[in-house]
Subunit: 241 residues, 2 copies
DNA sequence: CGGCGTTTTTGATCCAGGTCAAGGTGTTGC
DNA sequence: GCAACACCTTGACCTGGATCAAAAACGCCG
């Protein structure tokens, strides 16, 4: 008990408090025993933008929680055309349960902190902890819903609707509680190239659409990264959400 | 025991044998008790193409197994632009666990047989049968993988690659065991309009690309629906899978 | 079989967004 | 402070696929 308490008061809580934000992490679904076991194999890492966390060539042997930053999931055609197929924000879970190879590359889009643990240990725990399994199921369904919204965007929206949709997505993520109509500021977690790969456009088109939004007085841009949206509701209308 | 055996030999087995094909159905994960309970509220339906099974306006109060045919999941923008975001083949499970409203419309693309049961009953069983929950989790992950392949297609592939990808998808589905290189025939489960909504194109472009494939000697088309692919490997190369 | 609505194909034209090519703007290190 | 580099914007032009219009093929029913 003292030992457990010890661990619980030193390493694990820090790990878990961040995992637990917004109740989408993994740790809160585990018993103290499992946490102790897991923490033995856990490694926290801080990685720079551009670092590849999982390559589509690899076999997957670890999972991770995103503690801070944004991870982009990409797919690439043989000739280099690329598409971002998912964005993982803290505290999302990173990994593909029940499968040993990935067809997806995961790469840090911003400076990222992750907390990684071996697939084996967690897979064992999934079987024992229905609550954990349920959370992972929920995240999968959630990602599926997002992917489908995104498919509508990729298949049917115009360039200007796409860029507005993207800004709206980031705005909502940066402050989920924000007023529907009103002003909101945030830093873009992606470069223009990433935004283009996200939206299925080129960087030139993204840039032109941002310029248009700026000239229309809907947003302000500082240092290419910091965005202020003056009227979220109007942006949303442009996005055709 | 006799009663159970009775039921098991009359209604349920028929239902389950179809559900169970390719091990993606729901029934095989249930105990006999649960099957008996479920079968009390189960209704099989045969529906014509175009019938809406779930509307995005509705609240969801039932699940279903697709026993035969193809169901398309669509999203529509206010101005009518539409995108197919999922295709459910038999014996897929149809429904969104843990949520009471859908942002998606499910519509029969071909004549379809479904076996529907109330959400409530199954939700209760999910909690009691980890095996069932696990299967649904697997299907969700599977659909997520498919959605992401699809996003790459929608974001980055050309019209000709898209149409080839589509034919390849249907070919694989119609005979998963088929030779990689060789001939294969099948009926398209979708109209040109559906194919266009699937691929993010217009019907004219789909038609032109099919004509091109025909003129290139890669496929033959009879009655607008029956397709023969002469060289699956060559099609796959065109698709840039 | 022939008439009629629906679906598909084909053709002509147009335009949103891609491509190519400079030029700006920040950021980092010396 | 300024050189070097990475990133972003702007402009000119081009093209793949959309749009509009019409003809052809199919499917259904009397």
């Amino acid at each position: 008990m003292t030992i457990r308490q010890d661990i619980h008061n030193s390493e694990i809580p820090a790990l878990c408090r961040s995992c637990e934000a917004r109740h989408r992490g993994v740790c809160g679904a585990l018993t103290t025993d499992q946490l102790v076991e897991l923490s033995r194999h856990t490694t926290k890492r801080k990685v720079d933008p551009g670092t590849v966390l999982v390559s589509d060539a690899d076999t997957i042997d670890s999972y991770a929680n995103v503690l801070a930053g944004v991870v982009k999931l990409t797919k690439t055609l043989p000739d280099g055309r690329q598409q971002i197929v998912g964005l993982q924000f803290a505290p999302d879970f990173l990994g593909r349960p029940f499968k040993h190879e990935s067809s997806i590359t995961a790469e840090a889009a911003t400076p990222v902190r992750v907390c990684a643990f071996p697939k084996k240990s967690l897979d064992r725990m999934i079987e024992q902890a229905p609550e954990l399994s349920h959370r992972l199921h929920l995240q999968a369904l959630n990602e599926l819903d997002e992917a489908r919204d995104w498919m509508l965007m990729l298949g049917r929206k115009t360039a200007s609707e796409r860029v507005a949709s993207f800004l709206h997505l980031i705005a909502r993520h940066s402050d989920p509680e924000a007023e529907i109509s009103g002003e909101i500021s945030f830093d873009l977690p992606l470069t223009r190239a990433d935004i283009a790969d996200f939206l299925g456009l080129t960087i030139e088109t993204v840039s032109r659409q941002l310029t248009k939004l700026r000239k229309d007085g809907l947003i302000a841009v500082e240092n290419n990264r910091h965005i202020t949206v003056f009227d979220v509701a109007r942006l949303e209308r442009r996005a055709n959400v």
